[in-house]
């Protein structure tokens, strides 16, 4: 296909994606520095970056690997809470917020990668809708498990309680004097220092893009695409399907964890139920509307769809209704054969991307 026909074309396309992100960052930063951006626009910057990274990482699973995941928010959750714990417990040791934030993001990514690996073992044995439902199940399980966690830290280190029966409380942590509770079970993490910045979000997007685009164009990436397009053919030429699937799945989880860590450090309070099925779906919508396997598309779709409900605030009661209608209309318009044919006339040679999920 195109990728084989010209390596140059790929580089050019990737260059364009990077350029898009960098220009957007430069423009927004410039506006922000001149005080043109409103408070609401400023407030949207960091979460928008998090959702862009989430969309990119999910696109790796859904678009490149071709497996529908309905529990991606679970990895974000693992990253967010482990990142918060890392950031809060290192608050005294590392006063520099930039270093601490970077460290917390790495910790978040690592924990999410481990979670991704453990979940990947059973999940990647399944296919199609069964795989989808199992990822949904894991997303819910992660949510429930984090809801049971009580974590605190004092001079003796980090204390963790697993509150299965729901009868333990913060007092059972037995924190030494001066200790601090970081996660209070169902009440989530409260009192988190908000140290996330837009620049960090931008750097994270660039790193994510770098990892994903290089991965897709590497030997591993070609093997994964082969598995997506025809698993049996790929197996028959000696590609180790499970291994490649696992590599992609773990990287995707780790990136989601990094996004989660950044997100967690942007709000003073965070509850596990935030990362439920609906959040997974929200990110999936970004990916599908942006185009499967299309990273530029994911970035643009995530930004627009994240800003849209905020822009629709003026319609207060009706905004989610309008959002739903827009979603349905876009899906129908982009997939209806008649409308597609019409588009085909305007934009010749529109190639179908991905589309190998649940064939």
């Amino acid at each position: 296909m195109k990728k084989l026909s010209s390596i140059k074309g790929t580089t050019k396309k990737n260059g364009f994606t990077y350029a898009l992100v960098i220009v957007a960052f430069a423009v927004v930063s410039l506006l922000n520095a001149n005080g043109v951006l409103s408070r609401s626009a400023q407030g949207l910057l960091v979460p928008a970056c998090c959702y862009i990274v989430m969309a990119l990482s999910l696109n790796l699973t859904v678009g490149v690997l071709g497996d529908l995941s309905l529990g991606h928010a679970g990895f974000m959750s693992v990253g967010a809470f482990s990142g918060i714990v890392a950031s809060m417990s290192l608050a005294d040791a590392i006063p520099n917020t930039v270093v601490r934030m970077a460290l917390a993001i790495v910790v978040g990514a690592l924990f999410a990668a481990v979670a991704g690996f453990l979940i990947g073992i059973p999940v990647l044995r399944l296919r199609g809708d069964y795989l989808a439902i199992v990822t949904l199940a894991f997303g819910e399980i992660i949510k429930d498990i984090i809801t049971c966690l009580i974590v605190g830290h004092d001079k003796n280190g980090i204390h963790i309680l697993f509150n299965v029966k729901g009868n333990k409380s913060v007092a059972d942590l037995n924190l030494a004097e001066g200790g601090q509770v970081i996660i209070k079970g169902a009440q989530g993490a409260t009192g988190t220092q908000t140290i996330a910045t837009f620049t960090a979000g931008f750097v994270l997007i660039i790193i994510t893009l770098f990892i994903i685009l290089n991965l897709v164009n590497s030997r591993t990436g070609r093997a994964v695409l082969a598995v997506r397009d025809n698993r049996i053919a790929a197996e028959s030429v000696g590609i180790n399907v499970t291994k490649y699937k696992m590599i992609v799945f773990v990287i995707s989880s780790a990136l989601a964890g990094a996004a989660g860590a950044l997100y967690g450090m942007n709000y003073s309070s965070l509850v596990a139920s935030k990362f439920d099925f609906n959040t997974s779906i929200l990110v999936l919508v970004f990916v599908v509307l942006g185009g499967l396997g299309n990273m530029t598309g994911s970035i643009i779709a995530a930004t627009i769809l994240y800003v849209l409900p905020e822009a629709l605030r003026e319609f207060s009661d009706y905004r989610m209704l309008i959002y739903a209608i827009v979603l349905i209309l876009v899906m129908v318009a982009t997939n209806d054969p008649k409308i597609k044919a019409l588009f085909g006339k305007i934009l010749p040679h529109r190639k179908k991307k991905g589309g190998a999920v649940n064939e």
Binding site: Y130, I133, L136, I145, N163, V164, N358
Partner: protein, 290 residues
Amino acid sequence: MEFLSYLINGISLGSVYAIIALGYTMVYGIAKMLNFAHGDVIMVGGYISFSVMSYLNLPGWLSVIISVVVCTILGIVIEGLAYKPLRTAGSLAVLITAIGVSYFLQNAALLIWGATPKVYRSLVSGTMKIGSLSISYISIITIITCLIVMVGLTLFTSKSKTGKAMRACSEDKGAAQLMGINVNRTISITFAIGSALAAIAGVLLCSAYPTLTPTTGAMPGIKAFTAAVFGGIGSIPGALIGGLLLGIIELFAKAYISTQLSNSIVFAVLIIVLLVRPAGLLGKNVQEKV
């Protein structure tokens, strides 16, 4: 005794899941799509029945009929407007559209009925006492309805002409079309039946667990979907068994392990079942053609 009452409550909860799961399974079997809006049709069914009883002061049985009619029409309309244009599109596009429909129904319900929860007046109240064990009549009705629906659906799909057309569509749409079956119409009928079942499930769900809010259907919807996969999605007896098992496991998990983790335990059992039997308990394991 405690054990028995947990069991009975579990079966009663499970039968509600089973009826919802039957709707899921029908639609999935024929249209091969995950209809995430199914749970919200249940919610609409509950609200319609509630409104007919509370605002129009009509008797309960009539409210059930009206609710079934309204939901059937709603199902056909949703299918025609949102899903039909996507017949040839990938399943992911249909999934996202279904989610859009789900958001739409929830927010429309919020605007129509408001956020204040409504308390659904149970159609039948009272309990039957056997020794020190008490079983509410609504549980008994739920279980019986569930069995009737399952037998009815099995007979319908195996004996009637439309039912046979449905099975043909589920096997191979192209071939079915060549045999002169109107595939589009068959899928619409499937949606109509699924939505009618959702209305019945809505009434039963609200009778047993009486608060009604715009998000009432969401969690039971996901659980019933799990039940359908559990039993083997596409299989009618599978949905019944999946639903019942799910209800019982959930209640026992709540009673003996942890309420906190009851949903997780349900999902964990699902994962284990799928690893051992990748197509669910009663699902057909289709061999891949190369």
